[in-house]
């Protein structure tokens, strides 16, 4: 599903160049649920941004779902993001002045779906996360856990092939965090590949595989941590 070979990312200023990723190579198979761990500044988020086609990279090769995305145009990367990728962010990143329904609608609009199909998908996704009764609520009227569930519904509505989650429980209390994690496991069980960046050892233990990143490189490929 995801294959990176020798991927490099360098941030340059006039005086310094910083290697965010140094020859990072990894593979994520279809249907896997992978946790990406590592200390702050290790390059986890840069990896996730590149994997999610939000950032370009300077060297190496990246194949997503069998397609080489190394030299795609900005527009082509946007289209791929829209069709194949779902994102879940730590701070939810809902659009504050759109209600729940319209927030979930956003990626579907960019895919050019007709109204009926969009409505069907939005309602199904919100049903799945248990928020079908909150269609016209604004994000500010929801709890953190509910907002993250809306974000999950938004990611799911487009039926993505792969889901990237960046500290999805980082802003939630432990109860909500467990609930969201359970939801992600359920989504993965239904066939969606998930790559999750996390600091949370407990969450990392619950997934199929951990990828540890240190200094912009994969330092260890391990099975889930033993409890």
């Amino acid at each position: 599903m995801l294959q990176m070979d020798e991927v490099q990312k360098i941030y340059r200023t006039d005086l310094v160049q910083t290697y965010a990723l140094r020859s990072l190579s990894l593979r994520v198979a279809e249907g896997e649920f992978v946790a990406v761990t590592g200390p702050s500044g290790s390059g986890k988020t840069t990896f996730l941004n590149i994997a999610g086609l939000l950032e370009t990279f300077d060297g190496g090769r990246y194949q997503l779902d069998g397609e080489d995305v190394s030299r795609l145009s900005d527009t082509a990367r946007s289209r791929l993001r829209n069709i194949k990728i779902g994102f879940i962010f730590q701070s939810f990143n809902l659009i504050p002045d759109l209600d729940v329904y319209d927030n979930v609608d956003v990626p579907l609009r960019y895919r050019g779906m007709d109204g009926g199909e969009r409505r069907r998908r939005i309602l199904a996704a919100l049903e799945r996360v248990g928020l079908a009764s909150r269609l016209r609520h604004l994000p500010s009227q929801l709890s953190g856990g509910q907002q993250q569930r809306v974000a999950i519904a938004r990611a799911l509505a487009g039926s993505p092939r792969i889901l990237f989650a960046d500290e999805p429980t980082g802003n939630l209390d432990s109860l909500m965090a467990r609930e969201v994690m359970g939801m992600l496991e359920e989504i993965n069980a239904q066939g969606t590949t998930i790559v999750m960046v996390t600091h949370d050892a407990e969450l990392a233990r619950r997934v199929h595989r951990n990828i540890h990143i240190m200094d912009g490189q994969v330092s260890d490929l391990r099975q889930p941590l033993a409890a």
Partner: protein, 437 residues
Amino acid sequence: MIGYYFRLGFHQLRRAPVLTLLIVLTLAVGVAASMSTLTVLYVMSGDPIPQKSERLLTPQINNYPVDGGPQDGNLPTLLSWTDVRNLREDGRGQRRSGLYGISGILYPERDGLKNFFVDGVAVDADFFAMMDAPFREGRGWSAAEDSAEARVAVLGTQLARKLFGEGPAVGQEVRVDEQRYRVVGVLDRFSPVPKFYRLDGSSRAGAGEDELFIPLSTAIAIEKDVDGTVSCFQQTGPGFQGRLASECVWLRYWVELGSASERSDYEAYLQAYVAEQKTQGRLPRADARAIARDVREWLVEVGVVDDDVRLQFWLAFGFLFVCLVNTVGLLLAKFTARAADVGVRRALGATRGQIFLQYLSEAAALGLAGSVVGIAGVFGLLRLLASQSPDLEAYAQMDAVMLVTTVLVSVLAAILAGLLPTWRATRVLPAVQLKTQ
């Protein structure tokens, strides 16, 4: 998708309401200033009788004396009675009418109505058909009544209402100065703008309806004095008869041709007329000539749109430009504050083009809101202009075309002002924005 972008655009108007209000007001002020002057220019330079403006000609004849009058080659904008009489008698063209401005005191017979001053024009019978003047009641007078110097009159709508209320005016009599006229017709809002048939270059003269029309032959017979410009460049005999016999210019003359292609024949006729008059000892200048202008050429000749108006127009559009520059700054502030929104949308698959269209649609929505306020401003400014002089009142009128143009200008201006801020919005790096959330 554009519908979705506009929905988002209108939705965003409510967000940051102070900034939105500032943008809308800035646009509205610029639009109001520019569109009010454009409206005046548009009305001034409009074709008041488009269906036949190419077939309606007014001649100009150089009858200046050798040592008097302008020496710049320009022709008088008015004609002498001698020329008008001759042209009428020659009978060229499908229809024809001489005319001059008249006025007088009207003595109403209706109870409670005091004597008042009326403005009017002395014309020939053909005038009404020639100008496509609509009748609410009755008709114009006949050629026979012209010949008979009949005491008949056609009234403007307002005057007829004032004198006779909603009752019939035809058949009634009106007394103006010492003459009584039998009303044969009432016009139905006949007020071409500009009032081209009377323009003589001495003023913009365009306000309102003429109230009273009487036969030119009658006006001449009763020696009705002219209310308008009279230019004489040499000594004349005494009184009205002296003026009739002189080379003073004070009348207009209009001829309607069957088709615009007959114009060259008519111009040839005018040249022959000048040559013939020279043989009779008139038109003494060596370069004496006659030309004919159609309605649009005539409006240019008499300078309906003068340099002042043009200057005001350019100043107003300069002001709109200044407003646009300010709008660019305000939009930059508004859109920059929404970088996170762009970041999220880009992450969810929006292309730069889609973000560009969305934000440009929002700018257009602001332009639409600006046009609503701007239109109110245009009406206010036009009312202000109209109150400055009766001449301007006729031009300070907004029609559907200008209303639509105002909306378009406002939206276009907003889109123009939105180009840079929108382009900046598309350059937002989603990864950076998502991280800073």
